[in-house]
């Protein structure tokens, strides 16, 4: 039967399992929007195309399925760039569909023409320019396949207006076979044996658990592996939830704002087992002094990550879950109680510095707010964070038990990510309790999506950690720029009235005593509540490894109890 390219587009999306699309219409995508009405698709009308991409991303991270965003040509497409780059850096499978001017007009600087395949070349896993209806189905099919297979990532499909309008015979293409694309790798037997040897020989091993655990669904086998080999597990930001925070072998987060004992353990380790992580500079600090005594085993799906930042002794390339299942029988039960006791000992010093332990000064601290939200939600919410101090406090004080329960922009550090990504997460998992933890700065970057929440009746809760500053930048200015607060103080709108203007509920919290009741009221309220937590303005995130410094050279939280001068 003959169908238009627009019809084929939706037919293909539905066949690929898409049930919802986050988008914004315009001239070049109008034929597709017109055809949409005849398909079983929930369309969420966003307020900015950046929001659409973050929503698709949040949807993908919450569900593990491909998220779909749609926009028109020109400005619609360029507004997607930040969201695409965000998804690329964090290996999130999204498919972005953009309208393009008619194929005859390409290259003529026609109204709303931009070379979006050119612009997104380095920030997509792959992209397509489709100029004929005959190519629509294959492009969509391949886009989904490429987005979700191997190391996932964003794929953009740019469809000219005439390709949407004209008709052709519809035929659903066979499973894509892309000669030049080999997402599946498998190490050789000697490589497994060599890895097992290193594991048996190690006295002070540490597992570095990254996003790959979540992406490959390796939580269970990572736990079994850690238990059998008796190896403590340090988490990257995006790995959080990949192993339950309450698991006795889970040390907590590593890196720039990681726990002091975790970074120290890494520096003292004689073997690092990197599971689906990429030795980002935020977790290694100075590469020259990074884990100097450690052998390294890197299990990773992307061959290009092996030996990129850190030279490794064994690189096992392939899907993490499969590789660990294969490796497990090579590994005998081990006992490393001594090493694990040593790390527990390191923890002691941090416990006394912990802001939760400090005497109540009457001030409201972000860490307290997040701790109380964690308690109030039984640690079971999906938390979507923005970028800045609150993001790090969330990582430190909200203890995630399940994979896909923390959604945050790690690699690109995109402010404005949280609110739209949370909408995507809620649409993907309507039964989950979703909390946004966002700074007063980042919230204002994408707060227009409150209108999307209102229009689509989305039920989530927003905790604005309002410190009156671009807090993380202020912290750098405090530490490294003599407290010269250039362009970081914020004069904010009244967030509660703002929420009300969007038809949502607003609340304000100024003291610790109000936190739990307000959070509980928000949980019980049917509909989105925006809570303005007015916290201590000049608080800082500790510990901190200054950018490029040695991982063990942490700035620690000053405390009344601990003499801090020595390790600053």
């Amino acid at each position: 039967m003959k169908k238009t390219g627009a019809q084929i587009l939706w037919e293909s999306l539905v066949r690929e399992g898409a049930t919802c699309v986050f988008g914004y219409p315009g001239g070049a995508i109008l034929p597709a929007y017109d055809a949409m009405l005849d398909f079983p698709i929930r369309h969420i009308l966003v307020r900015h195309e950046q929001g659409a991409t973050h929503m698709a991303d949040g949807f993908a991270r919450a569900t593990g399925n491909v998220g779909v965003a749609m926009a028109t040509s020109g400005p619609g497409a360029t507004n997607m760039v930040t969201g695409i780059a965000t998804a690329m850096m964090d290996s999130s499978p999204i498919v972005c569909i953009t309208g393009q001017v008619g194929s005859k007009l390409i290259g003529s600087d026609a109204f709303q023409e931009t070379d979006i395949t050119g612009i997104t070349l380095p920030i997509t896993k792959h992209n397509y320019l489709v100029t004929r209806p005959d190519d629509v189905a294959r492009a969509i099919r391949e886009a989904f396949y490429v987005a979700r297979s191997g190391r996932p990532g964003p794929v953009l499909v740019d469809v000219t207006k005439d390709a949407q309008q004209s008709s052709c015979e519809f035929e659903w293409p066979a499973e894509p076979t892309l000669t030049g694309y080999r997402p599946n790798h498998w190490p050789s037997k000697p490589e497994f044996e060599r890895a097992a040897e290193l594991i048996h020989a190690a006295k002070r091993p540490v597992i570095l658990a990254g996003h790959g655990i979540v992406l490959s669904g390796a939580t269970d086998v990572v736990r079994r592996f850690a238990e059998r080999a008796h190896v403590p597990v340090a988490m990257t930001l995006l790995g959080l939830g990949g192993l339950a925070a309450s698991h006795p072998l889970n040390l907590g987060m590593m890196g720039m704002h990681g726990e002091a004992w975790v970074n120290t353990a890494i520096q003292e380790a004689d073997l690092l087992l990197a599971f689906g992580m990429r030795f980002d500079d935020r977790v290694t600090g100075n590469l020259k002094t990074y884990a100097p005594q450690a052998r390294k085993i890197h299990i990773e799906i992307d061959p290009a990550e092996i030996n990129k930042n850190v030279k490794v002794d064994v690189g096992l390339v392939g899907d993490l879950r499969d590789i660990l299942e294969e490796l497990l029988p090579y590994v005998g039960a081990c006992d490393r109680t001594e090493w694990i006791d040593h790390i527990s000992h390191l923890k002691g010093d941090s416990a006394v510095r912990d802001i939760q332990q400090l005497p109540d000064s009457g001030h409201l601290y972000a860490a307290h707010v997040i701790h109380d939200i964690w308690k109030a939600t039984n640690g079971e919410a999906i938390v979507v964070t923005d970028v800045g101090q609150h993001q790090m406090w969330e990582a430190q004080y909200y203890h995630h038990e399940e994979p896909r329960s923390l959604i945050t922009s790690g690699g690109l550090g995109t402010m404005g990510f949280a609110l739209p990504a949370a909408i995507g997460a809620k649409v993907g998992r309507p039964d989950a309790e979703v909390w946004v933890i966002v700074g007063d700065g980042g919230f204002q970057m994408t707060m227009a999506e409150l209108a999307t929440i209102a229009q689509e009746n989305i039920d989530l809760n927003v905790a604005i950690i309002n410190n009156g500053f671009l807090g993380m930048v202020r912290q750098w200015q405090e530490f490294f720029y003599e407290r010269r607060y250039a362009a970081t103080p914020l004069v904010n709108p009244d967030f509660t009235r703002l929420a009300e203007a969007f038809g949502l509920k607003g609340a304000r919290v100024r003291s610790r005593a109000e936190v739990v009741p307000t959070v509980q009221a928000a949980r019980e309220h049917a509909g989105t509540v925006v809570i303005d937590f007015q916290v201590e303005q000049e608080d800082s995130v500790f510990p901190m490894v200054p950018a490029g410094a040695d991982l063990h050279a942490m700035i620690r939280r000053p405390s009344a109890i601990v003499e801090t001068g020595a390790d600053v």
Binding site: T117, T179, G180, I306, K308
Partner: protein, 186 residues
């Protein structure tokens, strides 16, 4: 220096994807040539990059991440035939013409055009051989020069193209491609 033979799908934008990858990852292309292969729809690039062994492995792994890249061979340490082609327009007056012709002879080059005041010399060979001819012609006056950049092929019976075809139903093939037969050194 590392030399790669890269087989790619002959589709619009593929050269850009490859070139963009080198820029994005901070590698400098010394020479890049593109042309057809014996397999329809498959183009062959020879890319010379100034990098060490570790860098070369990163280049290879990253090239494989491009979906239109079918195969990558680092031929640097394989016994390889490397060839460059150059056209050199050199001043040749009645007094100097004989000398120039003699030099052309020594280098097994060919004269492919003659005018009262100049000759066009065609030479194929290694980069070094061509550089050397240019050096000896320079005193006579090199007016213009065009070079292809290096192409490479591993000696012996093995091939880089065995079993390579394009993805089934490669799209866009009826459109004029912007990339084919582009050949330049940078």
């Amino acid at each position: 220096m590392n030399t790669f033979v890269v087989l790619v799908e002959n589709l619009p934008g593929v050269l850009t994807r490859v070139a963009s990858l080198f820029r994005r990852r901070g590698f400098n292309i010394e020479s890049l040539t593109v042309g057809h292969t014996q397999t329809p729809g498959v183009s062959r690039m020879t890319i010379a990059v100034d990098t060490d062994e570790l860098g070369a492995r990163r280049v290879e792994a990253n090239l494989y991440k491009l979906i239109n890249v079918l195969r990558v061979d680092n031929v640097t340490s394989a016994p390889t035939v490397l060839r460059d082609l150059a056209l050199i327009k050199v001043t040749a007056t009645p007094e100097t013409r004989a000398h120039v012709m003699q030099l052309v002879e020594v280098y097994r080059a060919r004269v492919v055009d003659v005018s009262p005041s100049s000759l066009v010399v065609e030479i194929t060979g290694t980069e070094e051989k061509i550089d050397s001819l240019i050096e000896v012609l320079r005193p006579y006056g090199v007016l213009e020069m065009a070079r292809t950049g290096t192409i490479a092929m591993v000696r012996g019976g093995t091939t880089s193209t065995e079993g390579i075809s394009t993805s089934n139903g490669a799209t866009h093939t009826e459109h004029p491609t912007d990339d084919v037969s582009v050949s330049y050194s940078v």
